[in-house]
Symmetry: C2
Subunit: 235 residues, 2 copies
Amino acid sequence: MNLLLLSEEDFTGANCVQLQGRRFKHVAEVHRASVGDLLSVGLLNGPLGKGRVTTLTSGSITLELHLDQLPPAPLPVTLVLALPRPKVLKRVLIAASSMGVKKIFLINSFRVEKSFWKSPLLGREQMDEFLTLGLEQAKDTVMPEVHLRPLFKPFAEDELPAVIKDTLALVAHPAAEERCPRGLTQPATLAIGPEGGFIPYEIEKLAFIGFRPVSLGQRTLRVETVVPALLSKLF
Amino acid sequence: MNLLLLSEEDFTGANCVQLQGRRFKHVAEVHRASVGDLLSVGLLNGPLGKGRVTTLTSGSITLELHLDQLPPAPLPVTLVLALPRPKVLKRVLIAASSMGVKKIFLINSFRVEKSFWKSPLLGREQMDEFLTLGLEQAKDTVMPEVHLRPLFKPFAEDELPAVIKDTLALVAHPAAEERCPRGLTQPATLAIGPEGGFIPYEIEKLAFIGFRPVSLGQRTLRVETVVPALLSKLF
């Protein structure tokens, strides 16, 4: 936790917050903060700055805020990701959030196991917890949007053309002949398939609406490895 | 498991192997292979090719091999990594192995918790298991070397200068002004610190022997995210 992320409910005055629970525990046990210490803080979807510890009890901490910085620039990318297995989803959401992705579609694909769509990790609160871990890691405050699209065809046909408008649309496909481009200067939409990859019908569908299949080379990587690798290659 | 990795002990004849245990289970339950099927196989530190299923019992499988391909090219990089916490180490070893890293030094640093060095995951067999998972993922056969260096100073002073000879030596450092270069055409040595980063003394030591501090930008990332992100940026 490199940043304490604050929400409106934490405020007890114009520039004053009181924290309990997980954030208090972290400040008390990891930072071992004392009265007077300055901590990195940020307001959810707002500015960042410092919080000075004004009181510290056995169960809560009070901070006086000075918020004067903008959050770091987002990555200009929309991630379209075949729903991974739950424990991988968690890691991918944390990584994508920490790298600055602000819009994620979790979509179905032939090789996504049906049971993945029933995972409790897809609940809004649970996903926000993972996304928050990524923001705290990267000292960012802007919560990413995550959209669930459990039907591939209507999403690809009716919604995806508008998503990729004015972006470079790429689909990661180990069999593609074109190598993934580097150092983009334009916004991108990046589609990543499930373990085993998108099936030919899905690749064709994506290519038809404007996605270019690209590869990272001969090696097929795990989803949790390929997401940071591709984002870092592109930007 | 995109590849069955074979070792000398599996051979029952010149071109014939018999598998039990984990690999048999995977072939039977995930591939659901039948006699006559062709599976991707590779000989540890040797060539790759296909194995045709010749017999299948309730506890073992026999394959006839045809090995005629070279393993994919390695990444020309030596990874010098402050020992991460055990569960992160596991993920980093799998990711680095799948991306083609062949030489890894796990080193001490001021912010590495002493207890990490006592983890059973640092045993040779346990680490080889993680490295094997990465090779199987990427259809590679060449086992990476992992070296443990629990003392920072003697490693940095006595051994590291020879390691970085004729390579571009970079140390990931969030505070660095220089951005991480892209698309290297020369071999590299990449040093990555612990959560919280190398301390100034360590950065100075590394810079003194020839490492250039570079950053991925304003965002500090987790070790398991920064390893694939940096490797992908560099190559």
